[in-house]
């Protein structure tokens, strides 16, 4: 099953490589990983998307917790949560393709954030499967470049992950 693990950790150099190293050393898979400092600059928040049986996910969360830099973590998939990913996609936009790109962008509620006579950059935010759907809807040959941030997420309601 797919899990989204949200980790609060010390904002120290090397903390990220400890997490990445843990995943490769123990053979866990990482689908995506995002990280940035929080409102408290001494803390970073990392969001990891991974897949595995319950046993593997249990080991992953335990091993992550064991890292001395990790302050706290939650598996978002276990509770009611919201997940989002940002994608920027550069497409050819000449002739008919220009209109088609615009139309799809509207349907998917994206924004066109860069315009040249030959191309658009579409910005879109949403759950990962929505982003996948846009990529699939576009003509393969029209896609010049796709940049995705990886998933981040947050719990619904009052509950939160903080120190």
């Amino acid at each position: 099953m797919r899990h989204i693990i949200s980790v609060l950790m010390e904002n120290e150099s090397g903390a990220l490589s400890r997490v990445a190293g843990l995943f490769s050393a123990r053979g866990y898979n990482i689908e995506s990983l995002t990280v940035a400092p929080t409102e408290d600059p001494t803390l970073s928040r990392m969001t990891l998307v991974t897949r595995g049986s319950d046993r593997i996910i249990e080991q992953i969360t335990k091993q992550l917790n064991k890292l001395v830099d990790v302050v706290k973590l939650i598996d978002l998939a276990e509770s009611d949560h919201i997940e989002r990913e940002l994608m920027m996609i550069k497409v050819r936009a000449e002739g008919d393709a220009r209109f088609e790109a615009q139309r799809l962008c509207e349907i998917f509620r994206g924004n066109i954030i860069d315009v040249t006579p030959q191309s658009y950059v579409i910005e879109i935010t949403g759950a990962s499967d929505k982003l996948d759907a846009l990529v699939n809807a576009l003509d393969r040959d029209s896609i010049i470049e796709v940049v995705r941030s990886g998933t981040t997420g947050i719990l619904r309601g009052l509950k939160g992950l903080h120190v």
Partner: protein, 576 residues
């Protein structure tokens, strides 16, 4: 008071009560060596190879319970230390490794003797630090000691760039008494409800089994384990790392379990209905085939590291906490419980175990004209009154030492179990002897292993650490040869050691006493003579039967009840 960075490092060690450190100098740590020169409080032991420094510090730590401290230079000094760091990591040994690093401004430029020590050691340390500011030394050292010694212990590397120890830069010294780390809070007390549930299950057992491991020794909980076991009157087995936590001479002890465990221990594991695992980690050398491990048993597991729990084997009642505290709580609950273990069931269970025990799975040929390795260990046990510190290397000799030296006290049996590092035994023995100068310290080794850190014989001379080296010389990498005999139709590919040195002359050239022993009747006198030479290091080169194998053996991928027994002993359920 103002101190420079190098002085600060030494002062921190003093504040931590460190008495001796093991090291080897080089460019990046010269400021620290200069600070060492100017003080008397901390003794520095100069080894001959940085691997030796880590193993010696490790042996010191295992025997004394205090963290071992290592000091090495950058680059090759640091990489030479890695094997010893990994050895300590896999056996959860508290160790602080101070490594020099190139000056901060040139880090990352492939400077002379630069390696990314923090990167290289990341997968084999509990934690590591790179110090970036001279004002951060004290705080970092304090954190390093806290992390290395608490919870599940382990090695911590502190990488120190040369400019940080610059004698010209002085800062006020203040050593923090405690540091709260929001991201590091090892468990201590076990959950009351879980403890209650575990005791209920234990008292209902009809075929109970206690399986205890190295964590009991690390957590100084031998007394509690002994009280717990005696109170319940249940059978107990120890892992290789747990030997000595419960007296091996006691009738409730059924021997070691696992690959080279006793018949009775492995059969009892297979047939038990309630298993309590106490600070042991279900290693694959212990469990055998996982799908047939304790097939009919409910499992309770006490461990301070949540990640050890249900890692290899699903457990029914986990208890996360420090073993000493959890056992104390369990003993209280057992004492006040109304329920008592069924006398009848326990009697039947013991009857079955005695039957297994009567097989005498550790029997060996006592009439042989060749020296049998098992005989040497038995004689060693008697000659030392069972009271020596015994270190070992890795191989058959290690297993025989574990099986035939009946350890009755914790911290007496010192070996590399998790990494299985050949070369560990000699430097470890030096470390133990420095911790306990008056004790008998014996290194049981093989002619292959001993050559991996043989240079430390020179260290043993310099510091007059009178250790006894018992070399079970079978002219083979015996353990490898045994696997080749069993699994590769005796194709002894590269497991025979040609050109073995004359160990007697070798020992003598290092300034020690060498003795060659070739006949069984000379074993005991030689051992006694060597033990009498209190302050001398003695190398006993014992020429043993090259064909001897370690039994019983649960071969890889087999279940506990499928053991290979010594020739001539046929078990009722032996399937091999």
């Amino acid at each position: 008071m103002d101190l420079n960075g190098a002085e600060t490092v030494i002062r921190c060690l003093k504040e931590e009560g460190v008495e001796c450190i093991f090291g080897y100098p080089g460019g990046a740590v010269l400021h620290i060596y200069d600070a060492l020169f100017k003080q008397q409080d901390i003794r520095h032991i100069l080894v001959r190879h940085e691997q030796g420094a880590t193993h010696a510090a490790d042996g010191y730590a295992r025997a004394t319970g205090k963290p071992g401290v290592v000091l090495v230079t950058s680059g090759p000094g640091a990489t030479n230390a890695v094997t010893g760091i990994a050895t300590a990591y896999l056996d959860s040994i508290p160790m602080i490794v101070l490594s020099g690093q190139v000056p901060s401004p040139v880090i990352g430029s492939d400077a002379f003797q630069e390696v990314d020590m923090v990167g290289i050691t990341r997968p084999c340390v509990k934690h590591n630090f790179l110090i970036k500011d001279v004002t951060k030394i004290a705080e970092t050292m304090k954190k390093a000691f806290i992390v290395a010694t608490t919870g599940r212990p382990g090695p911590v590397v502190v990488d120190i760039p040369k400019d940080i120890t610059d004698p010209a830069i002085k800062v006020p010294f203040k050593y923090p008494k405690q540091i709260v780390m929001r991201s590091y809070n090892p468990a201590v007390k076990g959950h009351k409800g879980q403890i209650k549930k575990a005791v209920d299950l234990l008292l209902e057992a009809e075929k109970p089994m206690i399986y205890s491991g190295g964590g009991v020794i690390l957590g100084n909980a031998s007394e509690e384990l002994t009280e717990f076991t005696r109170l319940l009157e249940y059978p107990i087995t120890n892992t290789l790392m747990g030997l000595g936590a419960y007296p091996a001479t006691d009738t409730q002890f059924v021997g070691m379990l696992g690959m080279h465990g006793t018949y009775e221990a492995n059969m009892a594991m297979h047939d038990c209905d309630v298993l309590v695992a106490i600070a042991a980690r279900f290693d694959d050398r212990v469990t055998g085939k996982l799908s047939e491990f304790c097939p009919d048993s409910k499992i309770i597991h006490i461990d301070v590291d949540p990640a050890s729990i249900s890692k290899n084997v699903r457990v029914d009642i986990p208890i996360v906490g420090d073993v000493k505290s959890v056992l104390q709580d369990m003993i209280e609950v057992i004492k006040t419980a109304k329920k008592k273990p069924s006398k009848k069931a326990l009697k039947d269970w013991w009857k079955q175990i005695e039957e297994w025990r009567s097989l005498k799975c550790l029997a060996y040929d006592r009439t042989s004209k060749l020296i049998k390795p098992q005989f040497v260990i038995e004689q060693l046990y008697e000659a030392t009154g069972g009271d020596a510190y015994v270190t070992s290397d890795v191989g058959q000799h290690q297993m025989w030492a574990a099986q035939y030296y009946h350890f009755t006290k914790p911290r007496r049996w010192i070996n590399s179990g998790g990494l299985g590092t050949m070369g560990f035994g000699l430097p470890a023995a030096i470390g133990v002897k420095l911790g306990y100068p008056d004790a008998d310290v014996v290194c049981v080794t093989g002619e292959a292993s001993i050559q991996m850190c043989i240079q430390e014989l020179s260290t043993a001379l310099q510091y007059s650490t009178g250790i006894k080296i018992v070399n079970l010389n079978n002219r083979y990498m015996g353990m490898v040869r045994q696997w080749q005999e069993f699994s590769y139709e005796s194709r002894y590919s590269h497991s025979y050691l040609d050109a073995i040195p004359d160990f007697v002359k070798l020992a003598e050239s290092y300034g020690h006493v060498g003795m060659l022993v070739e006949k069984p009747e000379d074993v005991r006198p030689a051992l006694e003579e060597s033990l009498k030479l209190k302050d001398r290091t003695v190398f006993l080169d014992l020429i043993t039967d090259p064909t001897e194998n370690v039994y019983p053996m649960v071969e890889s991928g087999k279940a506990h009840n499928q053991m290979r027994l010594p020739p001539g002993v046929i078990g009722d359920r032996e399937l091999a």
